[in-house]
Amino acid sequence: MAQQIKIEPVTRIEGHAKITLTLGDDGKVNDAMFHVTQFRGFEKFVEGRPLTEMPSITARICGICPVSHLMASAKACDDLLSVEIPPTAVKLRRLMNLAQFTQSHALSFFHLSSPDLLLGFDADPATRNVVGLVRKHPQRAADGIKLRKFGQRAIELLGGKRVHPAWLVPGGVNKALDPAAREEILAGIPQALDIARRTVEFFKTIVDQFHHEIDCFGNFPTMFAGLVAPHDLWEHYDGTFRFIDSDGIDVVELNEPREYQRYIGEAVEEFSYLKSPYYKPMGYPDGIYRVGPLARVNICKGFGTPLADEELAEFRQRAGNPALSSFHFHWARLLETLHAVEQIQRILEAPDILDKQVRARARPNRLEGVGISEAPRGSLIHHYKIDEDGRMVWANLIIATGHNNLSINRGVLQVAKEYVDGTKLKEGMLNRVEAVVRTYDPCLSCSTHALGQMAMKIELTDREGQVLDVLKR
């Protein structure tokens, strides 16, 4: 008799996500599905609004990563205006995006995943949270808070506030960098760099303990996609969008963002309201690909900053090139954090960083525009069409978590098959199922997980919906 286990809520973004595991007669997992069950309809209600409002409106999609939406939206609008952004404005935008990477990655690693990594996947859920972390590893917990604060403070100094800053606009940014703000961010660099370095060092000492998790946490060949800079350097803001295959060979590179629809299709599954993008030439669902820290690190040949490049060499050697296990998202995230801090320093030391020329002005010169940028959790695509008056007539948004949807589903299935025994539920099994979702740092869980805790109720039911076993925490 087929049975189902539901993990609900894996909440976040207006409503809930849930995981359903279907068991075969032997109590082993046959199938797994990761569902996102609600929507807010942003694509529709932006119709008729002037393009200049788009960055501010789309920032409201998410209070955790508003900067990422501002970035992609501003870039789509730049495309509509067809203007060249002043060089200082480009640097300032990069600065804010790197600050966003730093704070978001710190949140993901220290606040969300550390309780599992440092206290153990099977630890008592009562202590397997950030409070337990503070007690057992006070230094690491303090590091996480300080690193996140460094990034958050930089965003605040640039944009006026931390959530939904109004500073990015089509054509550049709203305000030049204040010399005092530059000094304040620079003063925080040595500490942030120390933390980023010692966290990577520390992670390398514990990663081998997780060889079993590495083997089954979304460990399969897929394509990877993301932005890459000239000379194959790591990129987060501009550059070209590239797909590589699971052997690391370049498959295709977009000449310009507007070509994305030739290569990315969007499938809709009846069980979820999160769309599943796939690589069109391979079809659905074979065109599975991953985005985010692991993808970016796999695609690039180097970071271009000394400390991060040294660590990257060791990562390649130990995790593979390309690294295929989604467990290595964690490690890749730490490499990116280290690079982000190094790069923030470099940008702030640029001679023209205080230049007052930070915005190009134009009326729309094109009726269709696409912006691609990298959010901490992966590539973000905003695609707009406007009328002659600059009003929105159509929008399509592909969010980072969407790209990873197919891969998250497959990862959940892989972990569930390995760990879940349907005859008797144990908390540790289901925590691993959640933890594989967490490696992708999906936007739909980052806030409910914010400090490492998630309300969860898991029901094991038979086909008629009768509850056989319940697990609560």
Partner: protein, 263 residues
């Protein structure tokens, strides 16, 4: 004082982006003091331990958008002695309330191929449309210092000192040049509640109403001025009013008025 004697604080989330709750966590420096003064009895983002109700203060983020949320808010009202709606979504329905003017099906079909799987209410509405709310704190997102002021005032037992005047007053106090006078930008500052510190005008940008209508705004007067002197048409007026707080009176009423003028 023992833990049990401390006032109990509960924080809830409905349909929203999480930005307002995050503003609370972003207090960082003051957060530890706050945790010393109140017992955080229910806050799933921050900690696992939940204490049984009743709670002295309940903070609610997000709009009511699903049948399940509609039921849950009534239970929360029963559990909290002092219920505060925080942020644009909880006080006005938020940006997703824009769908209240359209058919839900149009939205669902535009975004998803199989909309029959969607379980949602026809409208996204503020908390106060469902239960009595003791205080509403505006903003998209809320100002963290205002949130702190509100909690402190409640703890001491005085009236919270939350400004009800317009953004214009903030601009004047801070000495920012008026973007409407000096740069002819259509600005919602004259009718928008203060609270952001006139952030947009400080960058030379017009206010777009994150904090919603001030007390007794004169929207008709601003509308006349914008339409006569700044070449904003009725459609533009409607659009400016219908954003993060568009479903909140009197923005809602005024935007409906301009919609009628459009045709």
């Amino acid at each position: 004082m023992t833990d049990t004697a401390k006032p109990k604080l509960a924080v809830y989330k409905f349909s929203s982006c999480d930005g307002c709750q995050l503003s609370l966590l972003n207090l960082e420096d003051e957060l530890l003091d706050l945790v010393g003064a109140v017992e955080i009895a229910y806050f799933l983002e921050a900690r696992r331990k939940t204490l049984p109700p009743p709670y002295d203060i309940g903070l609610v983020e997000g709009s009511i958008s699903t049948p399940e949320e509609e039921q849950r808010i009534h239970q929360i009202r029963r559990d909290c002695k002092y219920l505060v709606a925080i942020g644009a979504c909880a006080t006005s329905g938020g940006i997703q309330a824009l769908r209240n003017w359209a058919r839900l099906d149009d939205y669902a079909e535009a975004v998803y191929a199989k909309p029959e799987y969607l379980h949602t209410l026809e409208t996204a509405t503020p908390v106060a449309a469902h239960v009595f709310v003791d205080f509403e704190l505006r903003g998209c997102p809320v100002n963290a210092q205002q949130l702190l002021e509100l909690i402190c005032a409640k703890l001491i037992g005085r009236k919270p000192n939350i400004a009800t005047h317009s953004v214009c007053i903030e601009c004047k106090r801070l000495g920012y040049p008026c973007v409407m006078v000096s740069a002819s930008k259509p600005c919602l500052g004259p009718i928008t509640n203060a609270g952001c510190g006139a952030l947009c005008p400080s960058c030379g940008r017009a206010c777009y109403g994150c904090f919603g209508p001030m007390e007794q705004p004169n929207i008709a007067s601003l509308g006349d001025h914008l339409m006569q002197d700044q070449h904003v048409d009725a459609r533009g007026m409607k659009r400016m009013l219908r954003s993060f707080n568009g479903y909140l009176e009197p923005f809602k009423q005024a935007s409906d008025h301009y919609e009628r003028l459009e045709s």
